[in-house]
Structure formats: structure tokens, C-alpha cells
């Protein structure tokens, strides 16, 4: 198991290098001179040259890339072109907000999706099953921002139960998490249902019943563990689209997270911040997938360790 994890970590290196090259190119492929952006439209030529030298913009591209990677590894992303603050100082508070939103939403979607999927599968074609699958279809086809606005309209404006915007207090967390987590819950529910149905018809489930086990034990101990194997993969992929969806959800609920930061800074052409934000999201995504791989392996002892 340890060996497997080490090997997977080593395999991450080329992936992360690729990501860093793409992120680095982002700045260098966009038209416009960074020094000009920092100094402003009407800055004198000397100031611009000074800035170019300070940022090493006249160095050969490979050298610039090397320096970028070296600094990034030390979590040093330079300074914002707009605020002159260190990028990490700008980024981390926002990152934690988005991370919290993503984690709560994942927990919400996994919990709800698993329960709904199991109920659906165990009572295939029942009223509950048909109802759950209808709701799931609804959850899948609804655009995030629209659903968020609807929730806000009902629970904040009409009923006044929950605050319409912001992030931090438990009440403020509920609506954004439902908004962001519903699609994931729908995906997990559908996947769990089909996976459970597939497993329930397997011979070893009949064996489990033939041993005299209670139906509850047959479902939760024998069927669910097998059914979870494909579901875990879906949950991992879900986390990626969750980070993307977080951007929209943050806009709807005026949450001051990474999504808002990225949009604001793209408009302001503040590339160090955008670079760092994209890089962090990519790295988180890659590591979440590593965790998924490990849990997959843990669940499925049949896969060889290599």
C-alpha cells in the first residue's frame, strides 16, 4: 500500500509539470506588456524598464519558467500587479472559503446521493424509486446559478429563513451548499442506483442470503462495498466540476472566495493572482484524484498493486 502511494506520487510529477507549463504560458501568450500593466498607461519609459528588470521579464523564457516553478514550489507566487501585496496573502483566505464550500458540498452530495441511490435500488420501480430518480433528473438538468437564485428567492426573500448572501455562519452555509451539492447528489444517486442494481443480481449476493444473513447485512455489508467501487470514481470527478461550479455559486451568493477572486483579477489582468489560483485548483484536483485512487484500491482488493 505504501509503495503504491509513493509510486502514485512520483507519477504526479509529470502531470504537475504539464499544469505549470500551461499556467505559465497563460501569462506569456496573452498580449500586452506586464510591466506596462503594472506601471499604468502613462508611466515613463524608465519606470517600465525598471519593472521589467525587477521581474526578470527580459530573461530567456526557459529561465523565467524555471524561476516560476522554483518560487511556486516554495508557495511564492510573487506580488499582485494591482495591489502589490504578496499573492499568497491574497489567495489563502479566499482559497479556504472555496475549499470549505467544496468540501461541505461534497459531503452533502455523497451523503444524500448514497442514501437516495440505495433506497432506489433496493426498492426498484417502487414509488420511492421513481420519485428519487425524477428529482435526480431535475437536479442534473438545472443550471447551478438558476437553482441558487430560486433557493435564495424562496428561503431568503419570501420566507426570510436564511440570509441571502455571505459566508461564515452556519445559516449562510446552507443555501450555497445545497446549490452546489445538488447536482453532485443527483450524479451520485444515479450511479449508486445502477451500481447497486448490478451488484444485487450477482451470484455472491445470493450466497450471502443463502448463509442466513439479514437483508440489511446483505445490502450494507455485501452489496454496498462492491457497489461503491465505481461510485468512488464518480465522486472524485465530481469534486473537479464542483470547483468549477463554485465560481458561479460564489457569484450568486456574493461569497468572497476563489471564484470571485479569479473573475475580478482576470478582468483586471492581474496575472500572478490568476496564475496562482489556477495552479492551486489544479493541484487540489490532482491530489483529490490521488485520494480517490487510493480509496479505490482500498475498496477493491482485486486490482493488483501495480
Amino acid at each position: 500500500m505504501f509503495q503504491f502511494i509513493v509510486r502514485r506520487l512520483i507519477q504526479l510529477i509529470p502531470v504537475l509539470l504539464g499544469v505549470s507549463i500551461i499556467v505559465f504560458s497563460l501569462m506569456h501568450l496573452t498580449p500586452g506588456n506586464p510591466a506596462q500593466i503594472i506601471a499604468g498607461e502613462n508611466a515613463p519609459k524608465e519606470t517600465i524598464e525598471q519593472i521589467e528588470n525587477r521581474l526578470g521579464l527580459n530573461d530567456p523564457i526557459p529561465v523565467q519558467y524555471f524561476n516560476f516553478v522554483k518560487d511556486a514550489v516554495m508557495l511564492d507566487f510573487g506580488s499582485s500587479w494591482r495591489t502589490s501585496l504578496p499573492v499568497s496573502e491574497e489567495l489563502w483566505p479566499k482559497f479556504w472559503v472555496t475549499f470549505e464550500l467544496a468540501v461541505y458540498s461534497t459531503i452533502f452530495s455523497v451523503f444524500l446521493g448514497l442514501i437516495a441511490g440505495i433506497i432506489s435500488a433496493v426498492r426498484q420501480y417502487s414509488f420511492a424509486d421513481v420519485g428519487i430518480m425524477l428529482v435526480a433528473l431535475f437536479g442534473l438538468s438545472m443550471p447551478n446559478f438558476w437553482f441558487g437564485l430560486m433557493l435564495m428567492q424562496w428561503f431568503s426573500i419570501k420566507l426570510g429563513w436564511l440570509p441571502p448572501t455571505g459566508w461564515g455562519s452556519p445559516e449562510q452555509v446552507i443555501l450555497p451548499v445545497i446549490t452546489l451539492g445538488t447536482m453532485g447528489a443527483a450524479v451520485v444517486a444515479r450511479m449508486t442506483r445502477s451500481s447497486m442494481l448490478d451488484v444485487i443480481s450477482q451470484d455472491y449476493i445470493r450466497t450471502a442470503r443463502a448463509k442466513g444473513l439479514k437483508e440489511r447485512v446483505v445490502i450494507y455489508r455485501h452489496a454496498l462495498k462492491n457497489a461503491l467501487i465505481p461510485v468512488v470514481t464518480v465522486i472524485g470527478l465530481q469534486f473537479g466540476s464542483l470547483l468549477a461550479g463554485a465560481v458561479l455559486t460564489e457569484s450568486v451568493f456574493a461569497i468572497n472566495g476563489m471564484g470571485k477572486l479569479i473573475i475580478d483579477r482576470i478582468l483586471a489582468r492581474d496575472f500572478p493572482v490568476v496564475q496562482a489560483a489556477v495552479l492551486v485548483i489544479a493541484v487540489v484536483f490532482v491530489f483529490v484524484n490521488l485520494i480517490v485512487d487510493i480509496s479505490y484500491k482500498f475498496l477493491n482488493k482485486r486490482i493488483n498493486m501495480d
Binding site: Q124, S201, Q202, D203, Y204, R206, T207, A208, R209, A210, K211, G212, L213, K214, E215, V217, H222, K225, N226, L299, N300, K301, R302
Partner: protein, 343 residues
Amino acid sequence: MSQETILDIKDLRTSFLVEDFEVKAVDGVSFKLPKGKTIGIVGESGSGKSITAMSILQLLDKPGKIMGGEINFKGKDLTKLSEKEIQNIRGNEISMIFQEPMTSLNPVYTIGQQIRETLKVHQGLNKQNGTKKAIELLSLVGIPSPEQRVKQYPHELSGGMRQRVMIAMALACNPELLIADEPTTALDVTIQAQILELIKDLQKDLGMSVIMITHDMGVVAETCDYVAVMYGGKVVEYQDVKSIFKSPKHPYTVGLLNSIPRHDTDVDELEPIKGNVPSPKDMPVGCRFAPRCPFATELCEKELPSLDTQADGSEVRCWVYTDRWDGDPEVNVRESKRTAESE
């Protein structure tokens, strides 16, 4: 049959209700099994053998339902039991092993965990004692180095070994009745013989009664004391094993016997029964076997014969053995087949 009867099935009917249509998979099956003996249930694929077996333990898949009849096990009618009561019997008093050893064990649990589970639920054994018993069981069924095997996952074992594990698991609580549904069909010929030998030995040592389901008359000859031949969801003949080989009565039984390799003749070509098992969706109204029977008459096509006890104690479902037989009065079901062959 003077011995104590452990299982007495009367007029068992099991159907699958598919889209308002009743598929009668088992349609009035009756047979008795004396304690400590083996009964073979034979018949081609689709004749209702597995569904009969699943009905006993109520392991039927979703739309399957017992529509009527009795399954008397030690005087209790199993069809009347609650879900909880039947759970106490499964894997404890009655165990079952299946045709597909490759897929019958749960891939994500070790052999030891899976055997221990049965011991825990019926005998309350803890992990330590459960493991000890599991190792004993594995060596009982002839699995080498059982101490290592308990820690292994099913994928690390061959098909033959997995079937031995299934048998070990089935024997865990000393069942009085073992149902083996084509336990060797999926295995190599040499492994087949070993598994059959193992079941036979264990039965003798442990005094179990066994239901051996097979489509192979060779397996019947080797393992069974009694035979029930099934066709189209019904028992068509019931005899003790010696008599059925010596004097088979039903034309279908004769057909089955003719389709096994005979070592005592030069003829080594098999002679399968022509035609197919009827689908339960369009069962013939008269004798189920009529469309394939060389002796079928008008009566056979119109009316279903009943399962009648003969003078020698055998039971047969065929018009030939009744007063109402309207065909050749001199017909000899067993010999005419051979004669036809030599012409």
C-alpha cells in the same frame, strides 16, 4: 420407504409474474427425501430444477413467487415461515451450493471473513474461534495450507478451490440438508470427479441428506439414492437409482439415458433427444413432452397425464402406463428406442 422423511415437497408451484403473465417455472412438483439419503433432480436446462431448489430456501429472484404447495422440512412447512425464521434455517439447517464457483464468493472479503460470517450469525462464534473453525473446515474439504487460505481473497483461488470453499461454508453449521445445484457443471472433468467424491464422503461422515441437481445422468449414477426426473416444471418420473437405470419408464428418462456415453457398447456416439425444452410461455396443453415424444398419441396431446405410483413403487407421469393408453398396447418404451437405432 420406511425411513424417516426429512423433506417432503407437495405440489410445489413457483411462478414468475412478468408483465401480467405468469411464467410457471415449477408447476406442481412433489417428491420425498428420506433422511441421510441423496436425491438427484435431473432434467435438461430450463426444466425448473434450480427454481425448485431456490423455492426451498426462498431465494427466488424478484418477480419469483411460491404460488402454492408445501415444503415440509422435519415436519415444518417452510412456505409458512416468516422471513426471520427462514433466515435461521438458511446456512444452518439447510445449506446450498451453486453452479458458478467463480462468482459465488464475494470478491471484496477474504475466505476467512466469509466463512466466519456464517459461524457468527448462527453460532455466535467470535473472530478467534471463528477463524479456528474456518481453518478446520477448509482442511475438512481438502484445501491445502488452510492457515494461509483464510487470509486470501477469492480471486487468488482456482474454480475447484472456490467450490471447496463454498462447500466448507455450507458445512459450517452442520446442516441436515445440503442442496447442491449443479456443483460441478462449471468445472473441469477431473475436478468434477474430486468435488463429487468430496460431497459423497462428507455426506457419509456427517449423515447429511443431499439434493443433487444435475443434467448429467452420470453424476446421478455416482452420487444418488433416488432420482426425480423433471421436465417442463413437473416431475415426470421418480424411482430409486438402481431401478431407474435398470428399468426407466418415462420416454424422457429413456432419452436422457440414451444421451449419456455408454461404456458397455461400441456405440460411442451420443444420442441427444431431438427438439427443445418448451418455454413456460407456451407449454403444450397435454403431456409437456408430447412434441418430442416418439410415442405421442392424440390423448397425449390433449390431456396432461398425472404422476401415478406403479406396482413396483416407482412414480411415472405418462399415458403409456395407464388404462387409458390409446397407442400400441405392446409398446416397450425402453426397448423400442434401441430397436429404432439398430434399424
